[in-house]
Symmetry: C2
Subunit: 227 residues, 2 copies
């Protein structure tokens, strides 16, 4: 019942690359069609109900596919789950880089902070976070992968940015080395999250966006004053 109203997430055909001369052999076109339908349906359902909350019959039905077809594309339920998580992990962590590196440090940090926070609070991101976390003991590789693609990459990017700006003499009080840059980055992302993300993960009503904006500004402030 929770899952039904989250259906359209607009990932129906954006993933596979080749689209020229579509109607050809079944071993490519049809295969990827069914494959898509399955991963799409499975994503929605796993995100909404968790690994144990979903049956393969439900997935088959929603994907408009027979159960046998699922087993011809994936080894078993766990294999499907792993594939879903891996794909979602990557798809959900890319779109942040665009906000980097224009303007002075303050405005760059503000923009990056707002984008990052918005992404962390996006329903799909919260669902994935919850999913991976609750599966982390059973599927440790997934936890590791999600950490690297999410937190680790974000901190890495930000700390690179800070280091560059420091060398350019832009915005920071004192020169910093790489280690210090990483600490600052982690502090910034950490304080940015605050408890907003936690509230989302615990299914508590979020604060209004205006408060969020002010909070981001306060975080930029605190960082720039101290770094």
């Amino acid at each position: 019942m929770t899952a039904t109203n989250r259906s359209r997430t607009s990932a129906s055909e954006a993933t596979t690359a080749i689209r020229l001369d579509a109607r050809r052999l079944p071993s490519e076109k049809a295969r990827s069609d069914k494959h898509q339908a399955i991963t799409q349906a499975a994503s929605e359902m796993f995100l909404a109900e968790g690994f144990d909350g979903v049956t393969l019959d439900q997935i088959a039905q929603r994907a408009g596919v027979s159960k046998q077809t699922i087993y011809s594309h994936f080894s078993d339920k766990q294999g499907l789950f792993r594939a879903i998580c891996t794909e979602l992990t990557e798809r959900l962590t890319i779109p942040l880089r665009k906000s980097v590196a224009r303007g002075d440090l303050r405005s760059t940090l503000t923009r990056l902070g707002e984008d990052a926070l918005a992404m962390m609070l996006h329903p799909a991101s919260l669902d994935l976070h919850r999913l991976v976390m609750s599966a982390a003991l059973r599927f440790p590789e997934l936890g590791q992968a999600a950490y690297e693609a999410g937190a680790e990459r974000l901190v890495g990017d930000l700390s690179t940015l800070l280091l560059q700006r420091s060398q350019m003499g832009d915005g920071l009080r004192e020169p910093i080395d790489e280690k210090r840059a990483r600490i600052l980055a982690e502090q910034f992302i950490g304080m940015l999250r605050g408890f907003h993300q936690l509230r989302g993960l615990l299914a508590i009503e979020p604060l209004p966006a205006t408060d969020r904006s002010a909070y981001v500004a306060a975080c930029v402030d605190l960082l720039l004053r101290g770094a």
Copy 2:
């Protein structure tokens, strides 16, 4: 298999209040004994395996109790789960206050920060966090309760502390009001967590304690420079 080596958490008899003339009617002594055994066993297993990963037969066996007895103490599996979570939520959030309010602001914050971080990284706390989070969609009250008992209370306490110190003219650059105190508190706790807790939740090896200590110091620094 994961659960077996976490057995002794020393909560066997600390909860019920009356202890005078112990051996009386079975409806009090025996009842609370069994009750204890059940909640103890259920806690360990739910924390380690999650709601769906545990069967009532397993709980009964580990508690040394018949399944029927469980049903005479709790309405059903969900009722047991709710009770467990509620109890754990409260038990795991109390022991922080002791570190408050001695010494100057810097050392107070340092002590509080180290205690808070240690608590957030404690295995039991991580397990509970993971558990409540993965159950938050099915049991929203539990998420709400955990938030209030954990994050909300911590931020509240810290912001009260900051406000008091500000009025005493101790350590802060400029006077702050209550709203600002809350923001600072949330920033501090947020940056303190950094990604340490996330790593724990995702079952990734934690950093050595010395790094943690340095990180806490850096957080105190950043806060005091900017506040």
